[in-house]
Amino acid sequence: MSRTARLRLFLAAAAVLAAALITAATELPGFGGHHHPYGERAVAAGLARQTANIISSVNFDQRAFDTLGEESILFGSVLGAAILLRLARDEGKRRAAAEPVLPTTRLFGATLLPVTLLVGGYLVAHGQLSPGGGFQGGVALATALHLAYVAADYRVLKRIRPLAALDVADALAAGTYAALGLIGLAQGAGYLANTLPLGTFNQMSSSGLVAVINAAVGVEVASGVVVLLAHFLDQAVEIVHNGENR
């Protein structure tokens, strides 16, 4: 198919799709409507389980199985990227060169690093109470580490990044999530049932299993994202074709 033929074909089909989407949109309940049966049940259920942040309650309690699948996708992608970005038979690693860094950049990175670490830690710890949670906090923690790359250079990042330990932490956190579900199963309440003490509403210790799963997700996301970025950084900086070696 020539490129123009393909484009014409696509545009014709896209026009049909667009018409269908427009018709469907007019038949949807209007934006901002008040009919949310599942949402209202979820709010009631979350409050009953002493979880102030209802989204955390949905993610880690009511629909915790979805999140288990999601974390498995993250785990699988980290493993997949590791295997896809492994050293090919004809490749080797070179040493990353020291790179000059502007003093202002260094200051920027050095100041931001502890702040971001704190924010990340806070987000993970308060997931059941306020916006944020294991996932957002984990991303912030992973980003924090890479500020070292901005502030100094790749070699410094490599030194403060315990890659082998993070690899294991990622797998352990993924396994822990799946294993936590077995507690409820063993107690006869069902897989991933929130059978831990629920605590007091709006306290750090509230919401039972939600806080625990939240922490596991935080560990998995933080270590998973660091490992994922490490594979890409290796490719961008270190890995060279054997013929290309200096």
Partner: protein
């Protein structure tokens, strides 16, 4: 106003698909896939919105306050993670393909046909 957010979602989807169809660079194609995916965020959150309501976080709210639908927000959170990880996998494939094939132009990938 009542259908506008839904139409925006549809538009973003079609824009992303158009980008994919006409792409001449695989890295750019993966970016277009991310664009197409953001249509799902817009649609889901628009569906869950409720006028005059606040975020479903009750740390500083009376428990009978009207809140927007928390379920769609949980779904979008999952969706965002899925999208990012799939993007990472696809980009890994692009990196290796570039090494072995010498191009990132999808129009020149004719090794599998017929």
């Amino acid at each position: 106003m009542s259908v506008f957010p839904y139409l925006v979602a549809g538009w973003i989807l079609l824009a992303g698909l158009y980008g994919l169809v006409t792409s001449r660079n695989l890295v750019q194609a993966v970016g277009c896939l991310a664009v197409a995916q953001s249509s799902t965020y817009v649609l889901l959150l628009a569906v869950g919105y409720r006028s005059g309501a606040t975020a479903p976080v009750f740390s500083d709210l009376p428990t009978d306050a009207p809140v927007v639908d928390p379920v769609v927000q949980a779904l979008v959170l999952t969706d965002i993670v899925v999208g990012a990880t799939v993007t990472a996998l696809l980009l890994s494939l692009v990196i290796q393909l570039r090494k072995r094939h010498g191009t990132v132009d999808p129009e020149e990938l004719t090794g599998l046909r017929g």
